[in-house]
């Protein structure tokens, strides 16, 4: 019976409720997306590391789009200086733990999904548990050091990682598919200098975070072609976008060995 209903009522087989069919109606209409892709999103878990400017935009779009489970990691509280770009939070949230506010807001947006808020620091020790059971990982961090920890953990654990970063009016994005495409260490062989406070104009993490969500949805559904081996560089000053080829470094200290 299930089989016979497939051709006449294609949406019946994917276990989407009537409400979900209405909620996701506009994306279900995308050619090549449909109920199958939506059902894959529903069954997926995405880890969002960092609930700042990038994490705000990315999590809002992933929640809205119906990713079944979002695990959001951040050990910080909302600060007034976050509010120019961290669009999950409002003035009355200042002082509250970010992941708690994020969880509540995202569930208000979409009560059909599940949120795992994790208020922990990202370390070599905490990462394995955070990664467990996830399908795609989003780098929404604000420093190089933790990014390299995450990069290594994702390469070792074969988790697709979407890297995003911003500075001023600029953005960067690259997707890392372990075993197939260059990793963050191939991109940055040395430890770059860290900056305590980084200048950022609000729309930039919005743009890059939204692109990270787009990459995650593509990876989860098989739609399109991810930006693996291609670094997207956005210059908001003259609105130019560069997609630059990045090759795997055979001597990369993180992914070089895996490739053999």
């Amino acid at each position: 019976m299930e089989t016979s209903s497939r051709s006449s009522r294609p949406l019946q087989e994917v276990e989407l409720t009537r409400e979900e069919l209405e909620r996701y109606d506009r994306q279900l209409r995308i050619l090549g997306f449909g109920g199958r892709a939506q059902s894959r999103l529903k069954k997926s878990t995405v880890l969002i590391v960092g609930a700042g400017g990038l994490g705000s935009a990315a999590s809002i779009y992933l929640a809205a789009g119906g990713v079944g489970r979002l695990r959001i990691v951040d050990h910080g509280e909302v600060e007034l200086s976050n509010l120019n770009r961290q669009i999950l939070y409002t003035t009355k949230d200042v002082g509250k733990p970010k992941v708690e506010v994020a969880s509540r807001k995202l569930l208000e947006l979409n009560p059909e999904i599940k949120i795992d808020p994790i208020r922990e620091e990202v370390t070599e020790e905490t990462l394995p548990n955070m990664l467990k059971g996830t399908d795609v990982v989003l780098d929404c961090l604000d420093n190089f050091k933790t990014r390299f920890l995450l990069n290594r953990a994702c390469v070792d654990g074969s988790k697709p990682l979407v890297h995003g970063a911003v500075y001023g009016l600029e953005g960067r994005l690259m997707t890392i598919i372990p075993g197939e495409s260059p990793c963050l260490r191939c991109l940055m062989p040395r430890d770059p200098e860290e900056h305590e406070v980084i200048p950022v104009l609000g729309p930039l993490p919005g743009i890059v975070g939204a692109l990270e969500a787009l990459e995650a949805i593509k990876l989860l559904t098989g739609l399109g072609r991810p930006s693996a081996g291609r670094l997207l560089i956005i210059d908001g000053e003259d609105l130019s976008f560069y997609s630059v080829e990045v090759r795997s470094n055979p001597r990369c200290s993180v992914c070089g060995k895996r490739r053999g």
Binding site: G50, G52, G53, L54, G55, C140, L141, D142, N143, F144, R147, G164, A165, V166, Y167, G168, E170, R172, L187, M188, P189, R190, P192, E194, H195, I198, P199, V200, P205, L231, I233, D235, E237, D238, Y242, V244, E245, R247
Partner: protein, 92 residues
Amino acid sequence: MKITVKSFATIREAFGGRGVLWIELPEGSSIRDLINALEKNYRPKIDLSRVGEENSNIKVLVNGREITYLDGLETKLRDGDVVAFIPPVAGG
């Protein structure tokens, strides 16, 4: 010949916030010559001496192509070329 130089993030700041610069170079100049000329003419508040080395984090593009896949620092420039200096960034 006239070369357009686009700088990004911390390198842009080192050039006083000017994202685009133009520089005159003799015919046949390379990326190495361009870097020397930039240091001499603009005195950026950043050390460009290791830019373009194999393990540098700073990407140097000529008309959108990274010099690692051209001739590295010896990549020859032509009139009208656009050279971009792009460091990694970490904000979120």
